[in-house]
Protein backbone atom coordinates (compact mmCIF):
# COMPACT_ATOMS: atom_id res chain seq x y z
CA UNK A 1 0.00 0.00 0.00
CA UNK A 2 1.13 3.54 -0.75
CA UNK A 3 2.97 5.16 2.19
CA UNK A 4 0.90 8.36 1.78
CA UNK A 5 -2.33 6.37 2.11
CA UNK A 6 -0.95 4.53 5.14
CA UNK A 7 -0.11 7.87 6.78
CA UNK A 8 -3.60 9.12 5.94
CA UNK A 9 -5.11 6.00 7.55
CA UNK A 10 -2.85 6.33 10.59
CA UNK A 11 -3.85 9.98 10.96
CA UNK A 12 -7.55 9.03 10.77
CA UNK A 13 -7.08 6.41 13.51
CA UNK A 14 -5.11 8.84 15.73
CA UNK A 15 -7.65 11.63 15.21
CA UNK A 16 -10.65 9.36 15.87
CA UNK A 17 -9.15 7.76 19.00
CA UNK A 18 -8.01 11.14 20.33
CA UNK A 19 -11.45 12.65 19.77
CA UNK A 20 -13.44 9.73 21.21
CA UNK A 21 -11.25 9.53 24.34
CA UNK A 22 -10.97 13.30 24.78
CA UNK A 23 -7.21 13.33 24.25
CA UNK A 24 -5.39 15.47 21.74
CA UNK A 25 -4.17 13.69 18.63
CA UNK A 26 -0.58 14.72 19.43
CA UNK A 27 -0.23 11.99 22.00
CA UNK A 28 -0.72 9.39 19.26
CA UNK A 29 0.79 11.08 16.21
CA UNK A 30 4.35 11.29 17.54
CA UNK A 31 4.57 7.54 18.36
CA UNK A 32 2.81 6.72 15.06
CA UNK A 33 5.32 8.67 12.98
CA UNK A 34 8.41 7.59 14.91
CA UNK A 35 7.62 3.94 15.64
CA UNK A 36 5.59 3.03 12.52
CA UNK A 37 7.21 5.25 9.87
CA UNK A 38 10.70 5.66 11.34
CA UNK A 39 10.69 9.45 11.40
CA UNK A 40 13.14 11.27 13.69
CA UNK A 41 11.36 12.31 16.89
CA UNK A 42 11.86 16.04 16.35
CA UNK A 43 10.32 15.90 12.86
CA UNK A 44 7.39 13.92 14.26
CA UNK A 45 6.87 16.60 16.92
CA UNK A 46 6.82 19.34 14.24
CA UNK A 47 4.18 17.48 12.19
CA UNK A 48 2.19 16.71 15.32
CA UNK A 49 2.05 20.41 16.22
CA UNK A 50 0.49 21.18 12.80
CA UNK A 51 -2.14 18.47 13.40
CA UNK A 52 -2.84 19.78 16.91
CA UNK A 53 -3.50 23.29 15.55
CA UNK A 54 -5.94 21.95 12.93
CA UNK A 55 -8.08 20.02 15.43
CA UNK A 56 -7.88 22.78 18.04
CA UNK A 57 -8.89 25.58 15.65
CA UNK A 58 -11.84 23.60 14.28
CA UNK A 59 -13.21 22.68 17.71
CA UNK A 60 -12.35 26.04 19.34
CA UNK A 61 -14.55 27.71 16.71
CA UNK A 62 -17.47 25.55 17.84
CA UNK A 63 -16.74 26.19 21.54
CA UNK A 64 -16.65 29.96 20.93
CA UNK A 65 -19.93 29.86 19.04
CA UNK A 66 -21.55 27.89 21.88
CA UNK A 67 -20.02 30.39 24.36
CA UNK A 68 -18.41 27.55 26.35
CA UNK A 69 -14.85 28.92 26.17
CA UNK A 70 -13.83 31.82 28.40
CA UNK A 71 -12.17 34.14 25.89
CA UNK A 72 -10.56 36.60 28.29
CA UNK A 73 -9.19 33.99 30.67
CA UNK A 74 -7.93 31.96 27.71
CA UNK A 75 -6.14 34.96 26.21
CA UNK A 76 -4.48 35.94 29.49
CA UNK A 77 -3.23 32.38 30.01
CA UNK A 78 -2.19 31.85 26.41
CA UNK A 79 0.20 34.76 26.75
CA UNK A 80 2.11 32.48 29.14
CA UNK A 81 1.61 29.23 27.22
CA UNK A 82 2.89 30.93 24.04
CA UNK A 83 5.93 32.20 25.94
CA UNK A 84 6.56 28.66 27.19
CA UNK A 85 6.11 27.33 23.66
CA UNK A 86 8.82 29.64 22.30
CA UNK A 87 11.17 28.57 25.10
CA UNK A 88 10.31 24.88 24.49
CA UNK A 89 10.77 25.30 20.72
CA UNK A 90 14.27 26.65 21.30
CA UNK A 91 15.15 23.90 23.82
CA UNK A 92 13.84 21.16 21.50
CA UNK A 93 16.62 21.81 18.99
CA UNK A 94 19.29 21.75 21.68
CA UNK A 95 18.58 18.53 23.56
CA UNK A 96 19.28 14.93 22.55
CA UNK A 97 16.44 13.06 20.83
CA UNK A 98 16.85 10.22 23.33
CA UNK A 99 15.99 12.60 26.16
CA UNK A 100 12.87 13.67 24.20
CA UNK A 101 11.92 10.00 23.80
CA UNK A 102 12.38 9.48 27.55
CA UNK A 103 10.17 12.48 28.34
CA UNK A 104 7.54 11.17 25.93
CA UNK A 105 7.61 7.74 27.60
CA UNK A 106 7.00 9.41 31.00
CA UNK A 107 4.09 11.39 29.50
CA UNK A 108 2.51 8.21 28.10
CA UNK A 109 2.78 6.40 31.44
CA UNK A 110 1.25 9.43 33.19
CA UNK A 111 -1.72 9.50 30.78
CA UNK A 112 -2.19 5.71 31.09
CA UNK A 113 -2.17 5.99 34.91
CA UNK A 114 -4.67 8.88 34.76
CA UNK A 115 -6.96 6.87 32.50
CA UNK A 116 -6.73 3.83 34.80
CA UNK A 117 -7.61 6.07 37.75
CA UNK A 118 -10.62 7.35 35.80
CA UNK A 119 -11.75 3.78 35.11
CA UNK A 120 -11.51 2.87 38.81
CA UNK A 121 -13.55 5.97 39.78
CA UNK A 122 -16.29 4.95 37.36
CA UNK A 123 -16.36 1.43 38.79
CA UNK A 124 -16.79 2.76 42.36
CA UNK A 125 -19.41 5.21 41.09
CA UNK A 126 -17.60 8.33 42.25
CA UNK A 127 -18.84 11.46 40.51
CA UNK A 128 -16.47 12.51 37.73
CA UNK A 129 -18.65 14.46 35.37
CA UNK A 130 -18.15 17.69 33.50
CA UNK A 131 -20.51 19.37 35.94
CA UNK A 132 -18.34 18.53 38.94
CA UNK A 133 -18.19 21.48 41.33
CA UNK A 134 -14.78 23.11 41.15
CA UNK A 135 -12.79 23.18 44.40
CA UNK A 136 -12.67 26.98 44.57
CA UNK A 137 -16.15 27.75 43.31
CA UNK A 138 -16.97 29.44 46.61
CA UNK A 139 -14.24 31.99 46.00
CA UNK A 140 -15.92 33.40 42.94
CA UNK A 141 -19.54 32.91 43.85
CA UNK A 142 -22.62 32.32 41.75
CA UNK A 143 -22.89 33.39 38.15
CA UNK A 144 -19.20 32.87 37.48
CA UNK A 145 -19.95 31.13 34.19
CA UNK A 146 -21.38 34.37 32.84
CA UNK A 147 -18.52 36.62 33.93
CA UNK A 148 -15.37 36.32 31.83
CA UNK A 149 -13.16 38.02 34.40
CA UNK A 150 -14.33 36.12 37.48
CA UNK A 151 -11.39 33.70 37.33
CA UNK A 152 -8.67 36.33 37.00
CA UNK A 153 -8.00 35.99 40.71
CA UNK A 154 -5.09 36.18 43.14
CA UNK A 155 -4.15 32.63 42.16
CA UNK A 156 -3.24 33.82 38.68
CA UNK A 157 0.57 33.77 39.30
CA UNK A 158 0.40 30.02 39.96
CA UNK A 159 -1.67 29.52 36.83
CA UNK A 160 0.78 31.67 34.85
CA UNK A 161 3.78 29.57 35.90
CA UNK A 162 1.86 26.36 35.14
CA UNK A 163 0.89 27.74 31.75
CA UNK A 164 4.52 28.42 30.86
CA UNK A 165 5.20 24.76 31.77
CA UNK A 166 2.31 23.63 29.56
CA UNK A 167 3.74 25.63 26.65
CA UNK A 168 7.20 24.11 27.10
CA UNK A 169 5.71 20.58 27.21
CA UNK A 170 3.67 21.32 24.08
CA UNK A 171 6.72 22.44 22.10
CA UNK A 172 8.97 19.62 23.29
CA UNK A 173 6.49 16.77 22.84
CA UNK A 174 4.14 17.98 20.08
CA UNK A 175 1.05 17.88 22.28
CA UNK A 176 -1.65 20.48 22.92
CA UNK A 177 -0.87 20.69 26.62
CA UNK A 178 -4.50 20.27 27.71
CA UNK A 179 -3.32 17.59 30.16
CA UNK A 180 -1.73 20.41 32.17
CA UNK A 181 -4.01 23.35 31.34
CA UNK A 182 -7.35 21.76 32.20
CA UNK A 183 -6.37 20.62 35.75
CA UNK A 184 -4.63 23.97 36.26
CA UNK A 185 -7.74 25.99 35.44
CA UNK A 186 -10.05 23.63 37.30
CA UNK A 187 -8.02 23.09 40.47
CA UNK A 188 -6.14 26.39 40.79
CA UNK A 189 -8.60 28.94 39.34
CA UNK A 190 -11.84 27.11 40.14
CA UNK A 191 -13.08 27.00 36.54
CA UNK A 192 -15.79 24.34 35.96
CA UNK A 193 -14.37 21.36 34.07
CA UNK A 194 -16.49 21.86 30.95
CA UNK A 195 -15.42 25.52 30.59
CA UNK A 196 -11.80 24.64 31.42
CA UNK A 197 -11.79 22.03 28.63
CA UNK A 198 -13.28 24.46 26.10
CA UNK A 199 -10.93 27.28 27.14
CA UNK A 200 -7.92 24.94 26.99
CA UNK A 201 -8.94 23.99 23.46
CA UNK A 202 -9.01 27.66 22.49
CA UNK A 203 -5.53 28.18 23.98
CA UNK A 204 -4.01 25.13 22.30
CA UNK A 205 -4.14 26.82 18.89
CA UNK A 206 -1.88 29.76 19.72
CA UNK A 207 0.35 27.62 21.97
CA UNK A 208 1.00 25.02 19.27
CA UNK A 209 1.17 27.75 16.64
CA UNK A 210 3.93 29.62 18.53
CA UNK A 211 6.07 26.46 18.72
CA UNK A 212 5.14 25.25 15.21
CA UNK A 213 6.41 28.56 13.81
CA UNK A 214 9.79 27.94 15.51
CA UNK A 215 9.89 24.42 13.98
CA UNK A 216 8.76 25.80 10.60
CA UNK A 217 11.41 28.51 10.45
CA UNK A 218 14.12 26.05 11.54
CA UNK A 219 13.15 23.46 8.91
CA UNK A 220 11.64 21.08 11.46
CA UNK A 221 8.41 20.39 9.55
CA UNK A 222 8.29 18.05 6.54
CA UNK A 223 5.42 19.15 4.27
CA UNK A 224 5.17 15.72 2.59
CA UNK A 225 4.58 14.02 5.96
CA UNK A 226 2.45 16.82 7.42
CA UNK A 227 -0.02 16.76 4.47
CA UNK A 228 -1.47 13.23 4.68
CA UNK A 229 -1.15 13.09 8.47
CA UNK A 230 -2.99 16.40 9.05
CA UNK A 231 -5.79 15.47 6.64
CA UNK A 232 -6.15 12.09 8.33
CA UNK A 233 -6.26 13.60 11.83
CA UNK A 234 -8.82 16.21 10.72
CA UNK A 235 -11.10 13.57 9.17
CA UNK A 236 -10.61 11.17 12.11
CA UNK A 237 -11.36 13.84 14.73
CA UNK A 238 -14.51 14.90 12.84
CA UNK A 239 -15.76 11.31 12.58
CA UNK A 240 -14.72 10.53 16.19
CA UNK A 241 -16.63 13.51 17.60
CA UNK A 242 -19.82 12.24 15.91
CA UNK A 243 -19.38 8.56 16.81
CA UNK A 244 -17.92 8.94 20.30
CA UNK A 245 -21.17 8.66 22.22
CA UNK A 246 -22.14 5.43 20.40
CA UNK A 247 -18.98 3.52 21.33
CA UNK A 248 -18.45 1.69 24.63
CA UNK A 249 -15.94 3.90 26.42
CA UNK A 250 -14.80 1.40 29.04
CA UNK A 251 -13.51 -1.30 26.66
CA UNK A 252 -11.97 1.36 24.45
CA UNK A 253 -10.18 2.97 27.40
CA UNK A 254 -8.81 -0.36 28.63
CA UNK A 255 -7.49 -1.13 25.13
CA UNK A 256 -6.07 2.35 24.85
CA UNK A 257 -4.24 2.09 28.19
CA UNK A 258 -2.56 -1.08 26.88
CA UNK A 259 -1.58 0.71 23.65
CA UNK A 260 -0.18 3.64 25.67
CA UNK A 261 1.87 1.32 27.89
CA UNK A 262 3.25 -0.60 24.91
CA UNK A 263 4.14 2.70 23.21
CA UNK A 264 5.76 3.95 26.44
CA UNK A 265 7.96 0.84 26.54
CA UNK A 266 8.98 1.36 22.90
CA UNK A 267 9.78 5.01 23.56
CA UNK A 268 11.77 4.08 26.67
CA UNK A 269 13.73 1.53 24.58
CA UNK A 270 14.48 4.29 22.12
CA UNK A 271 15.55 6.60 24.94
CA UNK A 272 17.91 3.95 26.29
CA UNK A 273 19.00 3.04 22.73
CA UNK A 274 17.98 -0.61 23.19
CA UNK A 275 17.18 -2.66 20.10
Amino acid sequence: MDVGLLMLAGGIAAGAFGSILGLGGGLLIVPLLTLAFGLPLREAVGVSLVCVIVTSSASAGVYLQRKQANLRLGMVLELFTATGAIIGGAIAFLIDERLLAGLFAILLVYVAATMLGGLRRRVTAEPATDDETPPHAHAVGEGVERDDRAYLSGRMPVAAVGSVGAGIASALLGIGGGLIKVPLMHLVLGVPLRIATATSNLMIGITASASAIVYLVRGGIDAYVAGPTAIGVFVGATVGSRLGHRIGQRQLRVAFVLVLLYTAVEMARRALAIG
Binding site: D2, V3, G4, M7, L8, F37, G38, V50, I53, V54, S56, S57, A58, A60, G61, V62, L64, Q65, K67, A69, L71, R72, M75, V76, E78, L79, A82, T83, A85, I86, G89, A90, F93, R146, D147, D148, G205, I206, A208, S209, A210, S211, A212, I213, V214, Y215, L216, V217, R218, G219, I221, D222, A223, Y224, V225, A226, G227, P228, A230, I231
Partner: protein, 118 residues
Amino acid sequence: MDRGAADLEPALARVLQAGTYVSITLVAVGTVLLIAGGISPLAGGPALHIERVLSDVAEGRPEGFLWLGILGICVTPALRVAGALVGFWRRGERDMVAVALLILAVVAAGVATGLLAG
Protein backbone atom coordinates in the same frame (compact mmCIF):
# COMPACT_ATOMS: atom_id res chain seq x y z
CA MET B 1 -21.26 36.89 29.83
CA ASP B 2 -21.25 40.55 28.82
CA ARG B 3 -22.48 41.87 25.50
CA GLY B 4 -19.01 42.72 24.16
CA ALA B 5 -17.77 39.18 24.42
CA ALA B 6 -21.08 37.89 23.06
CA ASP B 7 -20.62 40.00 19.90
CA LEU B 8 -16.97 39.16 19.57
CA GLU B 9 -17.03 35.40 20.03
CA PRO B 10 -19.12 34.46 16.96
CA ALA B 11 -16.88 36.66 14.81
CA LEU B 12 -13.74 34.97 16.17
CA ALA B 13 -15.34 31.56 15.67
CA ARG B 14 -15.87 32.43 12.00
CA VAL B 15 -12.20 33.48 11.67
CA LEU B 16 -11.06 30.14 13.14
CA GLN B 17 -13.44 28.04 11.06
CA ALA B 18 -12.76 29.87 7.78
CA GLY B 19 -8.98 29.74 8.34
CA THR B 20 -9.09 26.04 9.18
CA TYR B 21 -11.31 24.99 6.27
CA VAL B 22 -9.41 27.04 3.65
CA SER B 23 -6.05 25.76 4.95
CA ILE B 24 -7.12 22.13 5.23
CA THR B 25 -8.57 22.28 1.69
CA LEU B 26 -5.20 23.46 0.37
CA VAL B 27 -3.42 20.67 2.29
CA ALA B 28 -5.94 18.15 0.91
CA VAL B 29 -5.25 19.27 -2.68
CA GLY B 30 -1.50 18.99 -2.03
CA THR B 31 -1.94 15.53 -0.51
CA VAL B 32 -4.01 14.30 -3.48
CA LEU B 33 -1.34 15.62 -5.89
CA LEU B 34 1.37 14.00 -3.77
CA ILE B 35 -0.30 10.57 -3.71
CA ALA B 36 -1.44 10.78 -7.36
CA GLY B 37 2.12 11.68 -8.37
CA GLY B 38 3.43 8.54 -6.67
CA ILE B 39 5.70 10.59 -4.38
CA SER B 40 6.53 8.89 -1.09
CA PRO B 41 6.06 11.19 1.93
CA LEU B 42 9.19 9.59 3.33
CA ALA B 43 11.26 10.83 0.37
CA GLY B 44 11.91 14.05 2.29
CA GLY B 45 9.78 17.05 1.45
CA PRO B 46 11.27 20.22 -0.03
CA ALA B 47 12.21 23.01 2.37
CA LEU B 48 9.94 26.02 2.69
CA HIS B 49 10.85 28.88 0.37
CA ILE B 50 8.22 31.54 0.94
CA GLU B 51 9.01 33.32 -2.33
CA ARG B 52 8.30 30.12 -4.34
CA VAL B 53 5.04 29.05 -2.70
CA LEU B 54 2.64 30.94 -4.97
CA SER B 55 4.49 30.01 -8.17
CA ASP B 56 4.48 26.34 -7.06
CA VAL B 57 0.71 26.60 -6.55
CA ALA B 58 0.30 28.16 -10.01
CA GLU B 59 2.32 25.29 -11.52
CA GLY B 60 0.23 22.69 -9.66
CA ARG B 61 3.12 21.34 -7.57
CA PRO B 62 2.04 19.48 -4.39
CA GLU B 63 4.58 21.30 -2.21
CA GLY B 64 3.04 24.67 -3.13
CA PHE B 65 -0.42 23.64 -1.89
CA LEU B 66 1.02 21.84 1.13
CA TRP B 67 3.16 24.77 2.28
CA LEU B 68 0.40 27.34 1.67
CA GLY B 69 -2.01 25.19 3.69
CA ILE B 70 0.49 24.59 6.50
CA LEU B 71 1.26 28.32 6.69
CA GLY B 72 -2.48 29.01 6.83
CA ILE B 73 -2.90 26.48 9.65
CA CYS B 74 -0.06 28.06 11.65
CA VAL B 75 -1.31 31.63 11.12
CA THR B 76 -5.03 31.01 11.82
CA PRO B 77 -4.76 31.17 15.67
CA ALA B 78 -2.77 34.42 15.39
CA LEU B 79 -5.52 35.84 13.13
CA ARG B 80 -8.00 34.99 15.89
CA VAL B 81 -5.86 36.96 18.37
CA ALA B 82 -5.62 39.87 15.91
CA GLY B 83 -9.41 39.78 15.51
CA ALA B 84 -9.82 39.81 19.30
CA LEU B 85 -7.45 42.79 19.48
CA VAL B 86 -9.67 44.77 17.10
CA GLY B 87 -12.81 43.69 18.97
CA PHE B 88 -11.44 44.65 22.39
CA TRP B 89 -10.16 47.96 20.99
CA ARG B 90 -13.67 48.82 19.77
CA ARG B 91 -15.09 47.91 23.19
CA GLY B 92 -12.51 50.10 24.91
CA GLU B 93 -10.99 47.20 26.87
CA ARG B 94 -7.44 48.48 26.89
CA ASP B 95 -6.11 45.77 29.22
CA MET B 96 -7.25 43.02 26.83
CA VAL B 97 -5.85 44.98 23.88
CA ALA B 98 -2.50 44.94 25.69
CA VAL B 99 -2.80 41.17 26.29
CA ALA B 100 -3.56 40.56 22.59
CA LEU B 101 -0.64 42.75 21.52
CA LEU B 102 1.70 40.89 23.87
CA ILE B 103 0.57 37.50 22.49
CA LEU B 104 1.26 38.67 18.93
CA ALA B 105 4.65 40.03 20.07
CA VAL B 106 5.50 36.62 21.58
CA VAL B 107 4.57 34.87 18.29
CA ALA B 108 6.71 37.39 16.37
CA ALA B 109 9.55 36.69 18.81
CA GLY B 110 9.20 33.00 17.92
CA VAL B 111 9.68 33.79 14.24
CA ALA B 112 12.69 35.99 15.05
CA THR B 113 14.18 33.33 17.35
CA GLY B 114 13.80 30.66 14.65
CA LEU B 115 15.32 32.88 11.97
CA LEU B 116 18.28 33.84 14.14
CA ALA B 117 18.95 30.27 15.25
CA GLY B 118 18.28 28.66 11.85
